[in-house]
Amino acid sequence: MARVTFQSLILTLQNFWAERGCLIETPLDLEVGAGTMHPATYLRVLGPEPWNVAYVQPSRRPADGRYGDNPFRLGKHYQFQVILKPSPLEVQELYLDSLRAIGLDLTKHDIRFEEDNWESPTLGAWGVGWQILLDGMEITQFTYFQQAGGIDLAPISAEITYGLERLTMFLSRKDSVFDIEWTAGVGYGPVRHQEEYEFSKYYFETADIDLHWKLLDAYEGEARRCLDANLVLPAYDFTLKCSHVFNTLDARGAISVTERVGVIKRVRDLAVRCAQGYYAAREALGFPLLQGGSTNG
């Protein structure tokens, strides 16, 4: 097996999926907890338009931070996200081919698809699928999206989410995420460790609780204003900001159990309205991608 780095893995996956007809998106320029929240997934899975996309998404989960002390856990990790809509029947084979492309001889490994369904209360979304285990280790989440924003989906999208650090660690036989190579000669640790430490410190100890409650109110208000003005995409940006503020407050230990349910509901209400608004807007545009995507959407 060729020497695998974090970067070579991204490039291989990107090329692999590009060659199979995927549009290569760029990461969303906002803090999100997962690639699913990128509008290229959450909104594009709605409605009848075909959509095949792949992109890297830095994913921030404040509560998962460990000050850079834990060899396996990160407050920010990178996902490689693929959406195939409608899901092709050979999607599992395509996925296995992507593993072959990164240099795995699958006959010498153990690959299993074990049930793992996905549900996001803040997005009003759920799907059915598996965690994909490579030699017992979860490297990918595979989901057939069934609902987003409370809307039943048809066609169905297949979502493939690779955990890039995990996979690199495993392929390069490193026991700590901070020991993997970003690219030849440059380690992931030197690039990212300081960030892990500082953000753990920030999210767990320093973040201004009052400010974040105010931000939550302000972002929510702005999202509503946008929705009322039929500006769905800006509204969705502000919804995502609310979601991240919520995660921050949660990591900071500032949300009680009762409040938690309430805040989740506030975010979900926004997300659901965004989804409905997006669907209506695409419909009004005549679902541009149905015509092969050559007209302006």
């Binding site: 396996f72 017992g136 495993f170 009762t258």
Partner: protein, 677 residues
């Protein structure tokens, strides 16, 4: 031969769904085979993660021919004046695909009789199989592709063969054929299927073992060998095996190893991570101690490159690293210092936080007479809910608290009571090990029950989201116990300790009656339970169980009929009469005088026996009065005109009847008299 072979190739079906789906399918297929005159015992259903396959072995090739009669229009309307068939008759014949020669003479209406040739089995299968497969109700369905169909997973191919020949069918738009594919990675080639035996053996060559039981046996044997090699034994665990056999098509097992320093973590944590989170089997040494070795399932023939061993070690070490982090963080803070945090942890919106709940538990334990150890356990029992370990491994709540208490040096009755507070978790589970544990478990559960009942969250039908039935069942099991952990309290008093609301009390009382009944009916007949409960149950469950036991044992005796008949007779004749005071001066007949004397003597004897809880001899004493009672009914008329005399006689009978009513209302026992010949 007449054999039908079917396979549905899908994507990976969740392991836990296979057994139920296979059982349902077997049942439906057996019914189909039986209805078409074949042998239903010949049905074989095999599933793998990606396949649902079956064989119907002894099919009848054709249904029997049948004759049918169909009634049509009235004769009068069937022919016109010229005797020619009318529109009505022609229409009727056309609709039934019949002609005029099928018409038979049968009264005032046109009737046709015709032979229906039995359908060939191929035709029946083609019609029935898709319906049977498509209608399997999976616990969680999904749609895929265009989203037209809903099933457990997307469908890839269908094999449908009758006696080696293709029977074309379509399942959710997928047309059948005669080929399948081997193991996804190891042997993905196409396989032509001609018969069931051929299917099973060719699949096996293509690294797929179709029969789940065979996969399990191969894995079990492999596990034993891999355990032996490191001088240990894999922990036998039925729930792991039943998952493993549906996780792979090839029955492989691999041994891996975690870092030895993690053995310092509590066993419960190690085992939970391996079993619940990783579906791995720990290996224990000859002394039963955990070793750093464990087994994992493997969908491959072996692991010559050591990849699977590496990967499984990697992920388990990662999990343990997390657990160690939580463990070390938790140990920086004593359980007793965590109590305050419970104020911020809500038990239920309307029922306050866990600090309040803990105080209620402590109060109930005190009222139940708990000692200092029990009270300490009660105070600390919920503090593990705010540890990192329980946040991560919620299944271990209680156990983690117990382990931390042990490490903090609390005595056994304290830490074990915390550890065991959720015991018994089921009918088969063991009870808390100590009296203090029993008290904490009782107090916690009665508080939960009273709380939820008071906010109107009683279980209804199959809905019991707060597992209140299980909570009540746990209480009943603890109160039925009579060793050194026996808690001498009745359900009635326990309810009184937890609530003062009369409506809640009444509802709980009825709820417990159901649980007591259900649990006792596992060991005793329903009428024995009903009879004994009628004589009271809420003051002491051990007493109730003694009384049912006595009833069960005398029931086998020949003189039980005397007990039953006497009791019934007394009950009938004294209906609506409550008094038991007999005025000796009013007794006229010699027989009733003697009966009264006997009753006084035997009655006090029965009372004594009842006080000593010697219920069987008590019932026997009652039975011994039967001849005298018999004589009384012959010699003495109860329903006489004279009010005072009548009432006095009824009181005498009541006095006798009541003696036995303290044990059970034996009139509720249903007997078949032939059993007593």
């Amino acid at each position: 031969m007449a054999e039908y072979v079917f396979e549905l190739l899908t994507e990976e079906i969740p392991a836990w769904m296979h057994d139920t789906a296979a059982a349902t399918l077997t049942q439906r297929l057996a019914k189909l085979v039986e209805e078409t005159g074949g042998d239903p015992s010949s049905v074989i259903v095999n599933t793998t993660p990606r396949r649902i396959a079956f064989m119907l072995g002894k099919l009848k090739e054709r249904e029997e021919d049948r004759e049918i009669e169909v009634k049509g229009p009235p004769k009068k309307a069937a022919y016109d004046a010229d005797g020619k068939p009318t529109q009505a008759l022609n229409g009727f014949l056309k609709k039934n695909n019949a002609s005029i020669e099928h018409v038979v003479d049968a009264g005032d209406y046109i009737t046709i009789r015709r032979q229906i040739a039995g359908r060939g089995i191929g035709e029946i299968l083609a019609a029935q199989i898709p319906q049977i497969i498509e209608s399997i109700r999976w616990p969680k369905m999904m749609r895929w592709g265009k989203g037209e169909h809903s099933y457990i997973r997307p469908i890839h191919s269908v094999v449908s063969l009758f006696d080696g020949k293709h029977v074309p069918i379509t399942i959710f738009g997928v047309a059948s054929g005669t080929t399948t594919a081997g193991h996804r990675i190891l042997a993905p080639q196409k396989i032509e299927v001609t018969s069931w035996n051929d299917y099973v053996s060719r699949l096996e060559l293509a690294r797929v073992v179709a029969d789940p039981m065979r996969r399990r046996h191969v894995m079990a044997e492999r596990a034993r060998v891999l355990g032996n090699e490191v001088g240990g034994t894999p922990s036998i665990d039925a729930s792991i095996w039943s998952q493993w056999q549906y996780l792979t098509e090839y029955p492989g097992v691999v041994r891996a190893e975690f870092r030895r320093d993690y053995l310092a973590l509590p066993d419960e944590v190690l085992v939970t991570v391996m079993r619940v989170h990783q579906k791995q089997l720990p290996i224990r040494d000859a002394q039963g101690k955990l070793t750093p070795y464990f087994l994992a399932v493997l969908d491959n023939e072996g692991d010559p490159a050591g990849n699977a061993a590496y990967g499984n070690s990697f992920v388990t070490n990662a999990r343990f690293a997390d657990a160690k982090f939580f463990y070390e963080t938790d140990r920086k803070r004593k359980l007793s210092d965590r109590f305050e945090q419970l104020e911020h942890l809500q038990f239920q919106e309307k029922l306050g936080n866990y600090a309040e709940k803990s105080k209620r538990i402590e109060r109930i334990v005190r009222d139940l007479g708990g000692d200092e150890d029990a009270l300490t356990a009660a105070r600390l029992c919920k503090t593990d809910l705010v540890t990192e370990m329980v946040k991560e491994f919620t299944d271990l709540q209680g156990q983690i608290g117990g382990i931390y208490a042990r490490e903090e040096g609390y005595p056994e009755p304290v830490w074990q009571a915390i550890y065991d507070q959720y015991k018994p978790a089921s009918l088969d589970d063991s009870l808390p090990r100590t009296l203090s544990g029993a008290l904490v478990s009782l107090a916690d559960r009665i508080d939960t029950l009273a709380g939820f009942f008071s906010i109107g969250a009683k279980p209804t039908g199959s809905k019991d989201p707060f597992a209140l039935r299980r909570a009540a069942q746990g209480i009943v099991l603890i109160l039925l116990n009579r060793d050194k952990r026996e808690v001498k309290v009745g359900i009635d008093r326990l309810i009184d300790l937890a609530t003062s609301d009369p409506q809640v009390k009444a509802d709980l009382f009825a709820f417990f009656a159901e649980r007591v009944k259900t649990i006792l009916e596992q060991r005793f007949a329903y009428d024995e339970v009903a009879a004994a409960m009628e004589a009271g149950w809420a003051a002491s469950l051990t007493d109730l169980s003694d009384r049912v036991e006595a009833l069960k044992s005398v029931r086998e005796d020949a003189n039980f009929l005397s007990i039953l008949d006497s009791a019934k007779r007394i009950a009938n004749i004294t209906e609506g009469h409550d008094g038991t005071t007999v005025d000796a001066s009013q007794l006229q007949h010699e027989t009733e005088k003697r009966l009264n004397e006997l009753t006084t003597v035997v009655g006090s004897q029965i009372d004594e026996l009842i006080t000593d809880r010697r219920y069987r001899p008590a019932l026997e004493s009652f039975a011994a009065m039967a001849p005298e009672l018999e004589k009384f009914f012959v010699d003495v008329m109860v329903m006489v005109e004279d009010d005072a005399v009548r009432r006095n006689r009824m009181s005498l009978l009541r006095k006798i009847g009541n003696a036995v009513m303290k044990i059970a209302d034996v009139t509720r026992i249903v007997v078949d008299r032939r059993d007593y010949k």
